[in-house]
C-alpha cells in the first residue's frame, strides 16, 4: 500500500508540475461560466412576458378588436402601437416582433383575396422570436381553418349568398374567428415548448462537458508512460520488486482523483435528477477511455507521439460520438462507428441507465490495462532505441526547408499528417451532413398511436397528406432509439382519449418529443397544431350546420360538408409572411454551427502540434539559431509558417468537404492566421517543459465550447454570447475577419523573438 501511495503521489506531482493546476482551474472556470449561462437558459425556458409591436394599417373595428384581444394574451407583456415607426426602431424599443396588419386584411380574407399579414422577428431575441413565430403560425392556421369551415357551412346551408347574407356571414365569421384565434388553446403550450428547447441544449452541453472530462484527464494521467519506460524509471521500479499492477492502477486512480472535482460540479449542475446513474456511467466510460489511451501511450514512440495519438482519439470521439453534432444528424455510414465511441456510451448510459451494453467501456478499460501490462513487461527486455525513419524530400530554400522539417517534426511524420488529413475530411463531411440535416425540410415524425378513435386515425391521415412530412409508426419502447439515430426527428404520441377530448373541446393528450434539432421540433409542432385545430373547426362546423338547419345531418350530408371544407381550405391563399431583421428567415437551431467542427479542429491541431515548439529541444534549437545571421527572424518565421501551413491544410480540407461560402473561407483564413500567432505566443509565454502539451487539448476544447463551436451560444444568454467574441472561434463564427487580423498582429508582437 505504501508503494501504491508513493506511485500515486508521483503521478499527481507529475500532473501538477505540468500545468495541472491551470488545467483544473480552467475547467472550473469553464463550468462556472456555463452554469451562469445555464441559469440564464433556465430563465429563458420559462419565458417572461415580452412586448410585441402591431402596426395597424387596416384601422377598422376588426383590427382594433384584434389588438385589444392580443393584449389579453399572457405571453405578451405589452402591445406597442407601431404607428409609422420602422421595424428597427420598434425592435430597439424591445419588441420581439412587429406584426403588420395590412389595409382591408379582414375583408380580403373573407373575399379570399390574396393578402399577407407581415411578421418581422427580432433577431436579438431568438427564443422570444421563435416562440412568437410558432404562436403566430399556429394562429394563422387557425384563422385559415375557421375561414374555410365557415365558408363551407354557409354555402351548404344557404347556397350562393346575396349582399345581406354576405355581410352577416362576415360579421359572424369575424367575431368567431377573433374569439377562436386569440382565445385559442395551443395543442402544445408555449411553456412546454420552451422547456424542450432548454432540455435539448442542456443535454448537448452535459454530454459535451462529460465527454471532455472522461477523455482529458485519462489522457493526462497516462502521458508520462513512454518517458517512464524509456528513461529506465519503470525498469528501476521493477528491479526494486515493484509490480506492474499498482504502477498502472496508480495512473487510473490519479486520473479519477483529478476528474472528481470538476465531475462533481458538472453532475451537480446538469445531472441532479439522475446523480447516481450519471456517476456510475461516467466512471465506466472513464475506465474505458483510460484503457484505450493507455494502449495508445504504451505503443507510442515517446510522450509527444502518445499525446498526438490521444488527441486524434479524443477528436474522433467528440466528432463521431455525438458530442459536437447529435448522433441523429450524422451520416448513416458513421452510425456503426458511433456505437463504439465513448460519448455514445455516455449518452446511452445517461439516458437509459446501466445496461449490459455498458460492459463495453469496462471491457475496454480492463482489456487495455492487461494488454499494456504485457507490453510494458515485454518492452523492458528489448532495445527500443533504434528506429529507422522514412526519408522525405525537402523543398529548396532557406525558409521552405526548415518550415517543412518543423511541420514534419510537429506532426510526428507521414502517418501523423495522413491521420490529420483524414480527420479533417471526416470533420468536414460530418459537419456538412449534420448541418444540412438540421435545416427544416422533409420531416420524418415517428408516431405512437395509443388512441384508436376515428379522430386519431383522421389526424394521422391528415398529417400523412401534409407536404414534406413523413410519418413512421413506432412502438413506445423504441422511441429512444428512433430519436438517437435520427430515424425520425421527433416522436408524436397520440394519447388515449384523444378523440373524446377533441369532441369535448378539451386539451387533447398529445405530446411531441424531438431529437436535438430544435428547428424541426418547432416545425413539426406547428404542423400538428394546425391539423388538430382544423379537426376541431370541422367538428364545430358540423354542429353549427345542424344548429343553422335546426335538424341533424345525414351521413351523406356530413361527408359532403367535410369535403366542401377541405376544398375551401385548399383554395385559401397564404395569409402571412415571416421575415427577420434583414429579410432572411430567423435562424433557430440548437445544432452546432457548420464551421464549428472545422474551427475546433484547426485550433486543436495547432495548439497540440504547436506544443512541440515549447519542448526543451525545440527551445534549445531556437536559442542556437539566434547565433546564425538572421537566425531569430528565420526561427520565428518558420515557426509561424509551419503553423499556418498546417492550419491551412487542415482548414482547407475540412472546408472542401464541408462546402461553404467564400465569406467563410475568408473568416477561416483569418482565423488560421490569428490562431497561428496565438499559439506561437502561448508556446513562448507558457515556458518550456510539458506544460503546453498538457494544456493544449484542454485550452482548445474550452475556448471552442465558449466560442460557440458546439452549440449556438445565443441560446444561452447575451453575456455568454458576448463572451464568445473574446475567443477566435466566436469571432470567426461571426465573420469578424478584420478583428481576427488585428488579433494576429497583436499576438505576432507578443510572441516576437527577444534579444538578451
Amino acid at each position: 500500500m505504501k508503494r501504491f501511495c508513493a506511485l500515486l503521489a508521483k503521478d499527481l506531482r507529475l500532473f501538477f508540475r505540468r500545468s495541472g493546476v491551470v488545467s483544473m482551474a480552467l475547467s472550473l472556470v469553464l463550468l462556472g461560466a456555463l452554469a451562469l449561462g445555464g441559469g440564464d437558459l433556465s430563465r429563458g425556458a420559462y419565458v417572461e412576458p415580452f412586448p410585441i409591436a402591431v402596426r395597424d394599417e387596416d384601422q377598422t373595428l376588426m383590427s382594433a378588436s384584434l389588438m385589444g384581444q392580443m393584449k389579453q394574451v399572457e405571453l405578451f407583456s405589452e402591445i406597442i402601437d407601431g404607428g409609422s415607426a420602422t421595424d428597427a426602431s420598434l425592435m430597439a424599443r424591445g419588441a420581439a416582433a412587429v406584426v403588420t396588419i395590412p389595409k382591408d386584411f379582414f375583408y380580403d380574407l373573407y373575399t379570399m383575396e390574396p393578402v399577407n399579414v407581415e411578421l418581422a422577428l427580432n433577431e436579438d431575441m431568438p427564443l422570444e422570436s421563435s416562440l412568437i413565430r410558432a404562436v403566430f403560425t399556429s394562429v394563422m392556421d387557425i384563422i385559415a381553418a375557421n375561414e374555410s369551415v365557415h365558408l363551407a357551412v354557409y354555402d351548404f346551408c344557404y347556397g350562393p349568398l346575396d349582399q345581406q347574407e354576405q355581410a352577416q356571414l362576415w360579421e359572424e365569421f369575424s367575431n368567431r374567428l377573433l374569439r377562436d384565434a386569440l382565445g385559442r388553446q395551443l395543442v402544445f403550450d408555449t411553456e412546454l415548448m420552451a422547456n424542450d428547447t432548454a432540455d435539448t441544449v442542456q443535454s448537448a452541453l452535459r454530454l459535451c462537458a462529460l465527454s471532455m472530462l472522461c477523455l482529458f484527464f485519462p489522457m493526462a494521467s497516462v502521458q508520462a508512460v513512454p518517458a517512464e519506460r524509456d528513461t529506465g524509471l519503470l525498469a528501476r521500479y521493477r528491479a526494486a520488486g515493484g509490480s506492474m499492477l499498482p504502477f498502472l492502477l496508480a495512473k487510473l486512480v490519479t486520473g479519477l482523483l483529478l476528474t472528481l472535482p470538476t465531475l462533481a460540479v458538472v453532475l451537480a449542475l446538469f445531472c441532479r435528477e439522475i446523480l447516481l446513474r450519471s456517476l456510475l456511467t461516467v466512471l465506466l466510460v472513464y475506465v474505458g477511455a483510460w484503457g484505450v489511451l493507455l494502449v495508445l501511450a504504451v505503443t507510442a514512440r515517446d510522450g509527444a507521439a502518445a499525446q498526438r495519438r490521444g488527441n486524434v482519439f479524443l477528436l474522433l470521439n467528440l466528432l463521431v460520438g455525438g458530442a459536437v453534432y447529435p448522433l441523429s444528424l450524422l451520416p448513416d455510414w458513421l452510425h456503426g462507428a458511433a456505437r463504439l465511441t465513448l460519448p455514445y456510451q455516455l449518452a446511452v448510459g445517461l439516458e437509459t441507465g446501466l445496461s449490459p451494453a455498458m460492459l463495453w467501456p469496462l471491457a475496454l478499460g480492463v482489456g487495455g490495462m492487461l494488454w499494456s501490462w504485457r507490453q510494458l513487461e515485454h518492452s523492458l527486455a528489448v532495445d527500443r532505441r533504434s528506429r529507422a525513419r522514412l526519408e522525405m524530400p525537402l523543398p529548396p530554400g532557406r525558409w521552405a526547408g526548415p518550415t517543412a522539417l518543423k511541420s514534419r517534426a510537429m506532426s510526428g511524420g507521414v502517418l501523423g499528417v495522413l491521420a490529420l488529413c483524414a480527420v479533417a475530411l471526416l470533420c468536414g463531411a460530418v459537419s456538412r451532413q449534420a448541418t444540412s440535416n438540421s435545416t427544416p425540410g422533409a420531416l420524418t415524425v415517428a408516431v405512437v398511436q395509443e388512441d384508436q378513435s376515428p379522430q386519431a386515425t383522421d389526424l394521422l391521415e391528415r398529417l400523412e397528406q401534409v407536404e414534406g412530412l413523413a410519418l413512421h409508426p413506432v412502438e413506445r419502447n423504441k422511441t429512444a432509439s428512433v430519436l438517437r439515430w435520427g430515424d425520425a426527428e421527433g416522436v408524436l404520441t397520440i394519447g388515449e382519449g384523444y378523440g373524446t377530448a377533441l369532441a369535448d373541446g378539451e386539451p387533447p393528450p398529445l405530446s411531441y418529443e424531438s431529437a436535438a434539432a430544435a428547428a424541426s421540433n418547432q416545425a413539426a409542432r406547428e404542423i400538428v397544431a394546425g391539423q388538430v385545430t382544423a379537426q376541431r373547426a370541422r367538428l364545430r362546423g358540423l354542429d353549427d350546420t345542424e344548429w343553422l338547419l335546426e335538424r341533424p345531418l345525414t351521413a351523406e350530408e356530413e361527408t359532403e360538408l367535410l369535403a366542401a371544407m377541405d376544398r375551401r381550405y385548399e383554395e385559401l391563399p397564404p395569409l402571412y409572411a415571416v421575415t427577420a431583421g434583414a429579410g432572411a428567415a430567423a435562424p433557430w437551431s440548437a445544432t452546432a454551427p457548420p464551421l464549428g467542427g472545422t474551427l475546433l479542429l484547426i485550433l486543436f491541431t495547432l495548439l497540440t502540434w504547436g506544443a512541440w515548439m515549447a519542448r526543451p529541444d525545440a527551445v534549445r534549437v531556437e536559442q542556437r539559431m539566434a547565433s546564425v545571421h538572421g537566425g531569430r527572424r528565420l526561427s520565428y518565421g518558420t515557426d509561424l509558417l509551419s503553423l499556418w501551413l498546417t492550419g491551412a491544410v487542415v482548414g482547407g480540407l475540412s472546408l472542401c468537404a464541408l462546402g461553404v461560402e467564400p465569406a467563410d473561407w475568408l473568416s477561416v483564413g483569418a482565423y488560421v492566421l490569428a490562431v497561428g500567432a496565438v499559439v506561437r505566443a502561448v508556446t513562448r509565454l507558457a515556458g518550456v517543459g510539458g506544460r503546453v502539451d498538457l494544456l493544449a487539448p484542454f485550452l482548445a476544447l474550452i475556448t471552442s465550447l465558449l466560442g460557440g463551436c458546439f452549440c449556438p451560444l445565443d441560446q444561452f444568454s447575451p453575456w455568454l454570447e458576448r463572451l464568445s467574441w473574446l475567443t477566435p472561434q466566436g469571432l470567426a463564427l461571426q465573420g469578424c475577419w478584420p478583428v481576427l487580423l488585428a488579433v494576429t498582429v497583436v499576438f505576432l508582437w507578443l510572441g516576437r523573438p527577444k534579444t538578451h
Binding site: D302, A409, A626
Partner: protein, 216 residues
C-alpha cells in the same frame, strides 16, 4: 577576406553583466586573428559561456564593442553546451535543417552531410531519431550540424562534455582538421589536455576577467 590584411575578431572593453554587480564577464579586450584557435578555461561561473554567447551574437554587450568581420557573419557557427537538436527528427533531417539554416545550397547539402557523418562515425545511424542517440553520439552530431555551415568562425562550448573517450577523440581529430583548414575557433573546455592539443592560445577567466593568457 580582404587581400593583404588578416580578418580579426576584436573585443574592446566589452562587458556583459546580469544585473548590477551580478555575474557576467568583462570589461575585457581581446583580439582573435583569422585561423587562430582560442581556448577558454576557468571555474564554473567564470564567464566563459557568457563570453562565447557574446561572440555568437546571442547576448548584446552592456558596454564596449564587439567587431566581427562582415565576411564572417554568414559563416559563424555556435555549438552550445546543451544538445540543441530536434530529438524527434533523424540525424539526417537535423543535418538538413542546419544546412538550410546556414543557407547552404541544396546540391552541396547531401555531399557535405554524408562526409561529416562519415568523419564522426554516424553514417549508419543517419536515419535514426536523435532522441534515441547516446550522449556521445548526440555531441558528435551537434558538431556535425555546426560544420554544415563550412564556418569561418566556430564557437564551441564544451563540445566533448559527457562524451565517451572514443567520441572525444573523433571530435578533437575533426577540430584539428578544421584548424589545418584555417578555421578560426573559440573552444571552451575543462580539460587542459584538450585545449593544449587543439588551441594556439589559452585564456583563463575568473569572475569574468582574464587572469592568464598563454600562447602555445
Amino acid at each position: 577576406m580582404e587581400h593583404g590584411t588578416r580578418a580579426q575578431l576584436r573585443l574592446e572593453q566589452m562587458e556583459k553583466r546580469f544585473g548590477p554587480g551580478g555575474p557576467g564577464v568583462g570589461p575585457l579586450s581581446l583580439v582573435l586573428d583569422q585561423g587562430e584557435v582560442l581556448g577558454l578555461q576557468g571555474r564554473n561561473g567564470a564567464g566563459k559561456s557568457t563570453l562565447l554567447k557574446v561572440l555568437a551574437g546571442l547576448y548584446r554587450p552592456d558596454r564596449g564593442t564587439v567587431e566581427r568581420p562582415p565576411q564572417w557573419e554568414r559563416f559563424t557557427a555556435y555549438v552550445p553546451q546543451e544538445i540543441a537538436l530536434y530529438e524527434s527528427l533523424s540525424a539526417w533531417d537535423n543535418l538538413q535543417f542546419w544546412g538550410r539554416v546556414y543557407g547552404m545550397p541544396s546540391k552541396i547539402l547531401p555531399v557535405r552531410g554524408r562526409w561529416l557523418l562519415e568523419q564522426l562515425d554516424l553514417l549508419d545511424r543517419a536515419r535514426d531519431t536523435v532522441g534515441a542517440f547516446s550522449g556521445g553520439m548526440q555531441r558528435r552530431l551537434q558538431l556535425a550540424t555546426a560544420l554544415m555551415a563550412s564556418p569561418q568562425l566556430l564557437l564551441l562550448d564544451e563540445p566533448t562534455a559527457g562524451a565517451d573517450p572514443q567520441s572525444v577523440e573523433q571530435i578533437l581529430s575533426l577540430l584539428l582538421h578544421l584548424r589545418g583548414q584555417g578555421c578560426t575557433m573559440v573552444l571552451i573546455s575543462h580539460h587542459r589536455s584538450e585545449l593544449e592539443r587543439v588551441c594556439s592560445r589559452i585564456v583563463t577567466l575568473d569572475q569574468g576577467m582574464v587572469v592568464e593568457e598563454q600562447r602555445l
